[in-house]
């Protein structure tokens, strides 16, 4: 079973994402900010990370840059999932090492389509 770390400061969003991803047969863990996510990754890299942008403590883009410098940090497939929906944010995310990008709101169809795009399903 593939693992996916869901990183979002909203418990509601984490719950919705978890439900969809579990249906896609992912084993889910959660983190509420970038720092917590980084600690989880140090304990073992997941196959995929669904990543919010704006979060307290450490935001998504800072987490992503830190992750890609970690030992084994190039391995997880990172899919941004954020309300930021302009070209500048998208370009910055991709430049910083994101593999795909979802603009909120999302549903199961978008999540599945994007995960398929990067070979996760």
């Amino acid at each position: 079973m593939k693992t996916c770390l869901v990183v979002d400061d909203s418990r509601v969003v984490r719950k919705v994402a978890r439900r969809i991803l579990e249906e896609m047969r992912f084993d889910i863990s959660e983190a509420a900010d970038g720092m917590e996510a980084l600690e989880r990754c140090r304990g073992g890299m997941p196959d995929a990370i669904l990543l919010d942008w704006n979060m307290p403590v450490m935001n998504g883009i800072d987490f992503l840059r830190a992750l890609r410098r970690e030992q084994g940090g190039e391995k997880p497939v990172v899919v941004f999932c954020t309300t930021e929906n302009d070209m500048d944010h998208i370009a910055e995310a991709i430049r910083s090492g994101a593999n795909e990008y979802i603009m909120k709101p999302f549903d199961s169809e978008i999540l599945e389509s994007k995960f398929a795009e990067v070979g996760l399903v």
């Binding site: 998208i90 370009a91 991709i94 990008y101 169809e109 978008i110 795009e117």
Partner: protein, 276 residues
């Protein structure tokens, strides 16, 4: 709705667009025709049907036919057909043509444009196609309503997230307010025409590639045969036909044969001639 009204509507749709309306699809009638009834100032779908049964106003008939079409589509739908285009069809055609000449592609049920534009993006990225090569993509549909949207090249945030990789969104789209607009360099490679597949389409000329996906599934057997055999006549001898995932020519016509090893790809059968 009375069984008589249902039969009347089903027959009308079959004649005009080929659509086979089965009783299990009758739930679609109310949701799709209620807006037409309202637009025509009528109180209900029953009134709408009664009106055209009494006097067949062609304008209303066509808005009914249009409203009953299923326009569901998305970018790079099923993915495989576009990989086939890039990896098999284009290399084959360009090697035969020696890179010169014009390439004509027909998307025969274009709907709101996602399919012809996916073709256009695929061709734009194909290494065999030199910049400035003559490529013409023609998108047709029975519904002028969906073609208006296709021409605009404007898509919602939801639509650009179904099937379109983020790299292609970045490369080929601009954000305009809350919508995404396809760049002119891609938009201008597709021309649109209203065309009913049940009617004569010889005027469109000959093509090297025909995409006819997810439209024949709505037709009865005789209409499928009829359309496919006329499509064969618009396809150059070395051309390729690409059908939808649930569609085939098997048991429907000998005009095409399946290309071995490439699901969904069909080639002209050299021995076949259309019965006079």
């Amino acid at each position: 709705m009375t069984p008589q009204d249902f039969d009347f509507l089903a027959q009308l749709l079959r004649q005009r667009s080929g659509l086979v309306l089965t009783p299990d699809k009758s739930y679609l009638i109310e949701s799709r025709l209620a807006p037409v009834a309202r637009r025509e100032g009528m109180n209900s779908v029953d009134d709408l049907i009664a009106t055209i049964r009494a006097r067949r106003d062609e304008r209303i008939v066509w808005s009914i036919v249009d409203a009953m079409t299923t326009n569901e589509t998305f970018f790079f739908r099923d993915k495989a057909p576009f990989d086939l285009l890039r990896d098999v069809v284009l290399p084959d055609l360009t090697s035969k043509r020696g890179g010169g000449g014009k390439l004509r592609v027909w998307c025969a049920a274009a709907s709101t444009g996602q399919e012809p534009y996916s073709i256009a993006m695929t061709i734009d990225q194909a290494p065999q196609i030199h910049k400035g090569a003559m490529v013409e993509i023609v998108g047709t549909d029975i519904s002028p309503r969906v073609l208006e949207k296709a021409k605009s090249g404007l898509y919602s945030q939801f639509e650009v997230q179904r099937g379109l990789p983020i790299q292609l969104l970045m490369r080929y789209f601009d954000k305009i307010d809350e919508s995404w607009r396809l760049k002119d360099s891609i938009r201008s490679t597709v021309q649109y025409r209203t065309q009913n597949l049940l009617e004569d389409f010889r005027g469109l000329g000959k093509f090297d590639v025909i995409f006819c996906r997810n439209v024949l599934i709505y037709f009865d057997g005789a209409s499928k045969t009829n359309v496919l055999e006329r499509l064969a006549q618009q396809l150059n001898d070395d051309g390729a036909l690409i059908l939808g995932a649930a569609e085939t020519v098997m048991g429907i016509t000998d005009a095409f044969r399946a290309a071995s090893g490439h699901r969904g790809l069909y080639l002209r059968n050299p021995g076949w001639r259309r019965a006079a």
